[in-house]
Symmetry: C2
Subunit: 359 residues, 2 copies
């Protein structure tokens, strides 16, 4: 086995050994009471951590499944999808692939979506659903989901507000009721600092009412079906990943101890230090004021080879990310500072970059 590379990529994030070991516990069935106790405990802890009374759906899948769920269970006829990066693009395409109409609010990569832009487009009255990406993993832009929610819910109370928070939730702040979101989701391998394999989404009453009116929701993408099963049996309709639920339950205890505010402040301090470091040697890619607190996307102003940098970092036991996709590869690089990392860990990887590049 080679030297383990500590992950400073924007997910999957590093999972600490004590958390990984939770997955090695002997299995239980998913129908007896002991499973119900585990699962209800997880739901309670998720609500406590996020200060929410909304129901958190916990589904065995990648976070992407919630994009299909949006298309199958929430969009009635037409969605307005805000696109300013690769993952919001994927969200829009998925809804379209589910056979629903999609209009795109297109903003250049690196720039943020604002409430004003959205209100202007919504004024046509054509849309039943609004889709926003909280934290664009591809560009490191953080969209102002609280401000957007406030503006939209005031003027368009009937609209469903769905948010991809895959690379933010659990690190950046997510309070569903304060945001006014009807669906906001993540997956375990990002700021929760767990292995991939579970998708977690907070669902409003409004979303459940909407789902009841949307036909052909299927089964695995049927938000209402999953909710009804939970209400009836406090379990999941199909066999869930019990090993990963053990790890989630364990991790949630640590997250509750740190609190959402504490976790946010820790992420913010890592982001602020990394931004200052980046601005000293390079430039930040995102529009000022809209930088992510979980991943810093940095312009490669020195024109160095990012691929070579990562090769050298690998020999030292680290991994960062190249820019996302053809458009940003080698033109930017990304340092993920999410999950359980502390400021000193991020500083360490940046010091190695200074050393390798002679900054």
């Amino acid at each position: 086995m080679n030297l383990h590379k500590r992950l400073f990529i924007p997910g999957p994030t590093e999972v600490f050994p004590d958390v990984l070991l939770q997955q090695a516990k002997p299995l239980i069935g998913h129908r007896p009471q002991e499973f119900t106790d585990l699962f209800v405990g997880i739901v309670d802890k998720l609500q406590k951590f996020h200060g929410s009374r909304q129901w958190p759906a916990v589904i065995t899948a990648s976070g992407t499944l919630f994009m299909d769920i949006t298309g199958r269970s929430l969009v009635q006829e037409r969605a307005l999808c805000c696109v300013n990066g690769a993952f919001s693009q994927r969200y829009a395409a998925t809804i379209q692939n589910c056979g629903k109409a999609v209009d795109v609010l297109d903003v250049p990569w690196g720039q943020a979506i604002t409430p004003e832009m959205i209100l202007e487009r919504l004024s046509s009255g054509d849309y039943d659903t609004l889709v926003v990406c909280h934290n664009e993993t591809s560009t490191g832009v953080r969209n102002p989901i609280y401000d957007i929610g406030k503006a939209v819910k005031k003027e368009h109370p009937d609209i469903i507000y769905a948010i991809d928070s895959v690379s933010a939730m659990g690190g950046d702040k997510v309070e569903p009721e304060k945001i006014g979101s009807d669906l906001i989701f993540t997956s375990t391998q990002k700021c929760f600092a767990l292995p991939p394999g579970l998708a977690i989404g907070f669902v409003s009453e409004h979303a459940l009412e909407r789902a009841a009116d949307v036909p052909h929701r299927g089964r695995y993408t049927d938000l209402k079906g999953i909710y009804d099963y939970y209400q009836k049996k406090q379990q999941t309709p199909s066999t869930p990943n019990v090993s990963l639920l053990y790890a989630l339950d364990y991790q949630l205890d640590k997250m509750l101890e740190e609190t959402q505010e504490g976790r946010y402040q820790r992420h913010l301090s890592m982001a602020q230090w990394t931004r200052a470091w980046a601005n000293k040697h390079f430039e930040m890619f995102p529009e000022k004021g809209y930088e992510s607190v979980t991943v810093s996307t940095i312009k490669n102003t020195l024109g160095k080879s990012i691929a070579d940098l990562n090769k050298e970092l690998a020999t030292r036991g680290f991994m960062i990310s190249n820019g996302y996709g053809k458009q940003l590869k080698e033109k930017t690089f990304r340092i993920g500072h999410m999950g359980d990392w502390q400021l000193a860990n991020v500083q360490e990887v940046c010091w190695h970059i200074e050393d390798i590049w002679g900054l």
Copy 2:
């Protein structure tokens, strides 16, 4: 922690400690070459074990996802769904919930589906897809999927033949080309003796051609999209459960060593012994000649309390299953003999039942 209950339920099955520990290995990203090596290795091993050249889709989800995939990516207009238990019922309902037309070939629970029944229904020419459950976990009936495939493919070569083999594949024999199946799937927590969390399905060229013609496949349920991504990058389109892939890779090495034939013979010997034991004290529930080799469903002819039996077994470190659903609960009980158990382990649990009930 209480005494661990060894699982003799029809899934999730017992996972041995060395396998569980694979999940505690440090994580890697899902885009670097080292992930590609892992994933391509798994695909190769799955093909070798099943003696197949079909592409095995490996998706982070419960096996149920493949029911949605059938509805979204394979059924064009109308499917004939063979129903003789709870899981085939679920399959039919899922396809219908995806907005496709479904006719049901209904056979009483406990009885098997035969090629003759299917040919008679298919002769109307109304169907583009045929759906069969290989091994009804609810009733312990094993449908003759090889004979069905031979008959159907001869008379109706255009039809897509989709099979739920969740509680059989990996224990019972599954050779996709010999069966003539276009989709045959399982999930990791059954005969593969792994934790739940991955769905595995062998997909024919014919199925991929069909998928190309079916609109609105979504993303997570888009069989063609997942295949195209694998062809292009030998990876998965969204973040997969890397921890469980480690365990699958490890387990496949052990399965290849045992061989599919060896694994089948071991399951058959456990089934035959359990059947003889059941017939000595009770009666088997399934129609004679169609008994499952992975789970024995036994009529509770003595009218004892199955719930009480399981409580006493729990104190001894075992768990079996009550009958499935309102219809079969307390009227039948089920002993799962699948995965990595040996004959002696199944004998042990049956001896405990004899002792508890004074047989």
